[in-house]
Symmetry: C2
């Protein structure tokens, strides 16, 4: 049974609580913190987009097509579908000689209420570019472009979401190399955007992110690719998520000291390069915005050296006052006290 | 530790799970099913709107103002803020000689994506009428109207959301009488719409709903009020929630055999008048749409006599195929097998 990570209170009484597990490891696999069951395979979903984007750089496709920071960052994104995002994805596809009709991620309306309202007010309807995974898929198409020099790209790339397509094979190989987990034996599912997702233990995910942050334990071309992708995201954090999103806000504030990426169903992974650590979180009930993000904020507070302003900023994400529609304070959403204790203990003893 | 009520699977593997507790009792307090901890006080939030609406009818206000089925139903509602809802709430306020400016529930955009998009496309912005609680608040104002015959209603009604206002005192008294729980000693919080919410055990909530369904154990004027409110909701189930909402869909299909009402933070209550039972559910992590509703569907399947078409309809709410943006089947969202077993056992032994 995993412990409570995050609680929501009302009038001083606990109203709801989120359980889950957290792994913090270094790139050699040394355990720095383990809360709950970190060895059960879980679907990491979009939290591993940076690992899935390694072939985009490692294959030489990014260089060949002249992809810039914005394009590399959006290839690692679960973006809001804001105009800035769809523009960059379209530009990236254009560099590969393609357009939105080549995307196989499906179409959905942007999720954030203000983005949705703004689109509706402009009389727009969504295309595949608005899918939060469209940048990742554009990256896959760029990889196809590289593998497939000289052939009919459009026909070659079709079906790139299938697990046995050459593009997806290279993506899965990168995921397996970084996590060191045997994906051939892992439970497999289909992700929201139709690519395969493999269940991987938090222990392996955290180590993979420590590797992304340090390069240690990665093949040289993957280490270079990870560095390039982290650099792009640190320079363009808006691309990886968007307005009022946790990932964007934290990376805008903390820069290269944190590379974090949310995934569906309460998953959150991060590299803390300065500390040489990787983090992986899974909330049992699948809640992202209210649980995985709050827990990640508490982890960052525990493991990243922050000045007073940064500490106060992060505390605003790990211990929030909840207000109702009249602005009256009704309760709090915060990292559980026991989670803070569990994170503090190893933090104090780390080298 | 509460058991798993609902699981989400992907590719045949459990991806996320929701824990919680369920109480099923009759009006005399006899326990028919108890799953998890049903004696811990929980905030019932909007699930008890029908109890909070008892004074509207019992005071004679509804009759005096000539409130119709739609207006009584919307007084029990957490509605979608669709035009049909805001029109009825405005009409109800008009009967009391008031308008939307008297509402103290605050303003928010409607939550359902299609409703939000349609409003934005029409260039509208929300008023307090769009607040999902506006019907309940209009009901409170109608009660004020009755208490306050002959005085300056607007001035008298101001502050009706406060726990010590005469209107809220009568609402709290009705809640206490129906649940038989000492609210003076209960943990108190402020609800999203600014009225007080009192933490009450599921055991007491379930018994209160059995009483709402049967009249047994209620004061005669509350028994009559409960019957009138159930009748109004059964005739106008759209008013209590709206398009594509669980409460509306189930009551449109099953009529007076089920009176169900969702609340925030994973709470769900129901009366099953035909069986003389009341139901109360709290999902630990506060998830409504994905957990409390699925669990309630399984409870209804276990305790309400359904024909084949109805069974199939309810199974569609308790065991859903999940599809991604391309319409590909990716998993399931369903009542946990252990929950079904726990519900079947007492169901088989009931008289």
């Amino acid at each position: 049974m995993n412990p409570v990570l995050v609680e929501a209170t009302r009038g001083g009484t606990r109203e709801s609580a989120h359980r889950g597990a957290i792994a913090v490891l270094d790139a050699d696999g040394a355990l720095v913190a383990a809360i709950g069951d970190i060895d059960r395979p879980i679907f990491p979903r979009s939290a591993v987009k940076v690992l899935q984007a390694l072939p985009l750089v490692a294959s030489g496709a990014a260089e060949q097509l002249g992809l810039d920071d914005e394009e590399l960052a959006v290839a690692c994104a679960s973006h809001n579908g804001e105009p800035a995002h769809t523009t960059v994805v379209a530009r990236m596809l254009g560099k590969a000689g393609l357009d939105a009709t080549a995307l196989e991620c499906g179409t959905h309306w942007p999720r954030p209420e203000p983005v949705l309202r703004a689109m509706a007010a402009r009389g727009e309807t969504p295309t595949a570019l608005h899918n939060n995974c469209s940048g990742k898929h554009a990256g896959f198409l760029c990889v196809a472009c590289r593998i497939d020099e000289g052939l009919d790209l459009r026909r070659y790339a079709a079906g790139y979401v299938r697990h046995d397509h050459p593009v997806m094979r290279s993506v899965t190989a990168a995921l397996q190399a970084a996590t060191g987990f045997d994906l051939a034996e892992a439970p497999r599912g289909t992700d929201g955007c139709s690519i395969p997702t493999y269940a991987i233990p938090l222990r392996h995910l955290a180590r993979a992110f420590a590797r992304v942050g340090t390069g240690t334990g990665l093949a040289p071309e993957h280490a270079r690719a990870a560095r390039r992708l982290r650099e792009a995201v640190a320079r363009r954090p808006f691309m990886v998520a968007g307005s009022d999103r946790f990932d964007t806000r934290v990376m805008e504030r903390l820069g290269e000291r944190v590379f974090c990426k949310v995934g569906a169903e309460g998953v959150f992974c991060a590299a803390l390069p300065e500390r040489g650590l990787g983090v992986a979180i899974k909330v049992d009930d699948g809640n992202n915005a209210r649980a995985a993000e709050v827990a990640m904020a508490a982890v960052i507070e525990a493991f990243v050296a922050l000045d007073d302003g940064e500490s106060s900023f992060m505390r605003g994400l790990s211990d929030m006052t909840l207000r109702n529609w009249n602005g009256i304070e009704v309760g709090a959403l915060r990292a559980d006290a026991a989670l803070r204790q569990a994170l503090e203990a190893p933090a104090l003893s780390r080298p």
